[in-house]
């Protein structure tokens, strides 16, 4: 171990005696070296042979070069035995001498340390020594992986003659096998079950996560504001920089890029998604609902509407869910002719219905005679104008009941209002004895009766129409006419003028003047009495007009060729396009602000007519539908030159019976729908050849028609068998796209309405006095993406076609 020259030996006592190295006598701990002659050792070896102590080192002794061998007494058993034998001369020398030098060296070193001098050991390059194994190769061998079992080698071979032999395939029907599926299934082979005893797994250290938090100091927030304005250059500075060279260079370098970008945008829109644009059109015509018009509610009243037919329906423009209906007695032709013989047994009324109370009407407007048609004033929905069967025009003011209408929820609300009426009723009872007219206030004493509103003003009988007023419209609020027929701007911005027409061949324009008209004293007295006798709960808004109201302008429709006249039944003015002011907003049902000021009509003052601007671009053309089924297109402005006294008119005869509807499209100002008799037609203003669209005679009669308010190409036609036909011009133009039966009797009037963006209603009335309110489904209510443009396209195509047809006809005639 370690030193190959050192051989530990055991000396027995006999050997110690022979060589004079007895322990503790010749050889002590200090004096442990003993030199023995080589010859002696050899002699000893010969004499004692195997029992000699030197026997293990016999070979070394024989090879020893020197004469004397060193034997050292190992008192501390350093090398394992009590003596050791040094086998080489150098080691002998080293052992004899170094203990002496080591002692000297130690002394030197101590001296050196005291003196503290650095001793620089000269650099000795490492000397190549043979590799001494310290046992590391054993460790390496233990760790290395070796095959414990020799790998098994298989050699698979096939008989040579089987290669390249022709192969025969056979068919096997897959269905014969279970599940029609053949496979080689896997199975567990018992011969290969090796139990895994040891597994090599890798492990990775992960740092431990620790949560820590800090809190910052919270200083309470303070509002701070700064005010700033942008820096701007003065004009001189701007001029200076504009003329600088740098700007010129900048612009020259930049303008090319900019122009390229601008041109790119002009060429095409890179972000237009064609796919998406295509998809939207398709989705609208997708799922068809079963029922286009869902029945929402229907209203009828047994007392007031018995044996009556509904002549006109009007939705309240601002309050959600209020609809007004006017009724008239259904008269046969002879009875209609002899109006004067008829005596009304029952008062005719206009009923107000609310969605929330289908049984009791909310309000009743008393009418002097049967009402043929009526309209809410667009600027103030509390003013209602109606046309009577005897040719008079009636005005109502329901501003007192406006709040009640807004809160029309249950019958319980009605009790509050009638309390007020009770008070009035008691006063009126006193008056009753004086005033001979039948008091209708008795009706109000029970709480379930709707309040009755008397009319405020009736036009004078002499100056009204001679025949029933069949159509009434408010003129829009941005212009008004004067006596000469010229249009002026309307400073007051409220609707003050009406136009009515009647089969007595005249169209009348009515004006609601602001102040009292100057009257003769005598007639004033008469009026005062009459005014005094009016029940006090009638608002005095139009007191000055009552029974003395005269029309402003009267137009007689003469036929141009013969000397007869037209008898207009319906009128449609070009400028009739007004929208009720809040119709497009979502109405908050119960929180409509009651206007703080009074009825605007009471505050009107006559503007000085000198300063009013004459409006040139208001069109004064109008369409008229007559009793005989003609459509007349005329102008009411009086011509300045006298030779053409009669206004320029156009006449079309397509319908065979009375026109019952003449309505402009809410989307296109120059498209008019006319319904009468067995067919209906669509006209375009300016196209004088004929109608754009005309249907063939149908089996039943068309009795009512209205454009849809939301879709440009859709309109509703009512028939005499109780059906509603829904026409969609983009789908089919030869027949209705859908029809639905609403009631058993003739449809008398249709009125569509947009109550909220999700709810579109269609009010339909029939001959039995029943009002049906239907809900229009979404597909019918919402227009598709380019519907407006498509419908416009369609109309233009039809116009072109008409022109082409006429050209062809003319050419044919010339040819003849």
């Amino acid at each position: 171990i370690g030193h190959p020259e050192i051989f530990p030996l055991v000396f027995t006592t006999k050997t110690q005696e022979i060589f004079n190295c007895r322990v503790d006598e010749d050889v002590t701990e200090e004096n442990c070296f003993k030199l023995i002659k080589k010859e002696d050792i050899i002699q000893d070896l010969k004499t004692r042979a195997t029992i000699s102590d030197f026997h293990p080192v016999k070979k070394v002794v024989l090879e020893y070069p020197g004469e004397e061998l060193l034997v050292v007494f190992d008192a501390k058993f350093q090398y394992g035995q009590n003596f050791y034998f040094v086998a080489s001369e150098e080691a002998k020398e080293n052992l004899l001498k170094p203990p002496e030098t080591a002692e000297e060296k130690d002394d030197d070193k101590e001296e050196e340390n005291r003196e503290e001098t650095l001793e620089v050991h000269p650099y000795k390059p490492p000397v190549h020594k043979p590799w001494v194994s310290l046992g590391s190769e054993k460790e390496v061998e233990e760790e290395s992986v070796k095959d414990t079992v020799t790998k098994i080698k298989y050699m698979v071979s096939r008989v040579r003659r089987k290669f390249g032999a022709p192969i025969t395939f056979t068919d096997k029907n897959a269905s014969h096998v279970k599940d029609s599926y053949v496979e080689c299934t896997s199975y567990q082979d018992k011969t290969f079950s090796i139990k895994m005893l040891e597994k090599d797994v890798g492990v990775q250290m992960v740092p431990k996560v620790r949560e820590a938090s800090t809190q910052t100091k919270w200083t309470y927030p303070k509002n701070a504001a700064t005010q700033y304005f942008p820096r701007q250059l003065s004009n001189e500075e701007k001029e200076e920089s504009l003329s600088s060279e740098k700007l010129k260079e900048f612009l020259t370098s930049v303008h090319l890029r900019m122009e390229i970008a601008l041109q790119q945008n002009e060429i095409m829109n890179a972000f237009f998604d064609d796919w998406k644009a295509l998809a939207e059109d398709e989705s609208s015509s997708g799922g068809k609902p079963d029922v286009y018009l869902k029945a929402y509610q229907s209203f009828t009243d047994l007392r007031y509407l018995k044996d009556r037919t509904i002549s006109c329906i009007c939705w309240h423009p601002t309050i959600y869910g209020i609809i007004a209906v006017s009724a008239r007695v259904w008269l046969s032709y002879e009875e209609q002719v002899n109006l004067s013989d008829k005596s009304l047994l029952q008062q005719s009324v206009i009923l107000f219905w609310s969605f929330f109370d289908p049984i009791h009407p909310q309000l009743m407007l008393e009418c002097p005679e049967d009402i043929y048609c009526f309209q809410f004033s667009p600027s103030d929905p509390n003013i209602i104008a109606g046309g009577c069967i005897n040719g008079q025009v009636v005005l109502w003011d329901i501003s007192q009941h406006e709040e009640k209408l807004q809160n029309a929820k249950t019958v319980a609300d009605g009790i509050k209002v009638t309390a007020v009426n009770m008070v009035n009723a008691s006063i009126l009872n006193i008056l009753q004895y004086i005033y001979m007219s039948p008091s209708l206030m008795q009706v109000q004493q029970s709480s379930t009766e709707p309040p009755l509103v008397r009319y405020c003003a009736v036009s004078s009988i002499q100056n009204s129409h001679k025949k029933p007023v069949t159509d009434i419209h408010w003129l829009p609020d941005y212009f008004e006419d004067n006596r000469m027929g010229a249009t002026f701007e309307n400073r007051a911005e409220i609707c003050v003028q009406l136009v009515t027409c009647s089969p007595d061949c005249s169209i009348l324009f009515w004006d609601i003047p602001a102040t009292k008209l100057p009257e003769q004293p005598s007639s004033e007295k008469v009026k005062e009495e009459e005014i005094f006798c009016m029940p006090p709960d009638v608002p005095d808004t139009f007191k000055h007009l009552d029974l003395c109201w005269k029309p402003l302008i009267k137009i007689n429709l003469h036929k141009s060729d013969t000397n007869t006249e037209y008898s207009p039944v319906r009128i449609s003015l070009k400028e009739l396009h007004y929208h009720y002011k809040t119709s497009e907003k979502v109405l908050s049902l119960n929180t409509l602000e009651v206007p703080a000021k009074d009825n605007p009509y009471t505050e009107m003052s006559t503007p000085s007519s000198k300063n009013l601007k004459v409006l040139e671009n208001i069109s004064t053309d109008f369409f008229v539908g007559t009793e005989d089924g003609e459509i007349v297109y005329s102008n009411w402005k009086m011509e300045i030159d006298s030779d053409s006294a009669k206004p320029h008119t156009q006449k079309y005869t397509i319908h065979t019976e009375t026109i019952n509807t003449l309505q402009r499209s809410p989307f296109f100002k120059d498209i008019v729908l006319s319904v009468g008799g067995r067919n209906f037609a669509i006209w375009k203003e300016g196209v004088t050849n004929g109608p754009i669209l005309q249907t063939s005679c149908s089996a039943g009669r068309y009795t009512a028609g209205q454009w849809s308010l939301t879709r440009p190409g859709v309109f509703f036609i009512g028939r005499d068998d109780g059906n509603i036909d829904i026409w969609d011009l983009l789908r089919k133009t030869h027949e209705p796209s859908h029809f639905q039966n609403i009631s058993e009797s003739t449809i008398t009037f249709i009125s569509p309405w947009i109550a909220s963006p999700k709810q579109h209603f269609l009010a339909v009335s029939d001959d039995l006095g029943v009002l049906h309110v239907l809900e229009i489904c979404q597909t019918l209510g919402h227009p598709s993406r380019n519907e407006h443009a498509n419908v416009l396209d369609y109309f233009e195509r039809e116009v072109k076609y008409l022109k082409y047809c006429e050209q062809e006809f003319q050419e044919y005639q010339e040819f003849q």
């Binding site: 003329s243 700007l247 900048f250 601008l262």
Partner: protein, 95 residues
């Protein structure tokens, strides 16, 4: 002079709503819009251009911003930056 001519040519393109020339500090020098709108556009777009320029430089220091286009629903704003000036054009890519 030439400056006027170039600006007029750009303004005459189809759909161009406004043209603004802004100096390095964001103060408009020349515009075809009213003052308040111009000042608003100049301030906002100047900041945005600085940001865009620094972004491009951060990603690749050898690169630099040449053109900035912002497309919105109603119109397109195009900004051509330079060392000292900024040219802003608002165009309506009308359909």
């Amino acid at each position: 002079a030439e400056v006027e001519e170039t600006l007029k040519r750009i303004q005459a393109h189809k759909g161009v709503i406004a043209t603004i020339v802004v100096n390095a500090e964001g103060i408009p020098i020349r515009t075809t819009l009213d003052n308040s709108t111009t000042v608003q556009y100049a301030g906002l777009l100047h900041q945005l251009t600085m940001k865009a320029r620094s972004t491009v430089r951060d990603i690749d220091p050898q690169n630099e911003l040449t053109f900035l286009r912002i497309r919105s629903k109603k119109h397109e704003i195009m900004v051509a930056p330079d060392k000292e000036y900024l040219l802003i054009v608002i165009q309506n890519p009308c359909e």
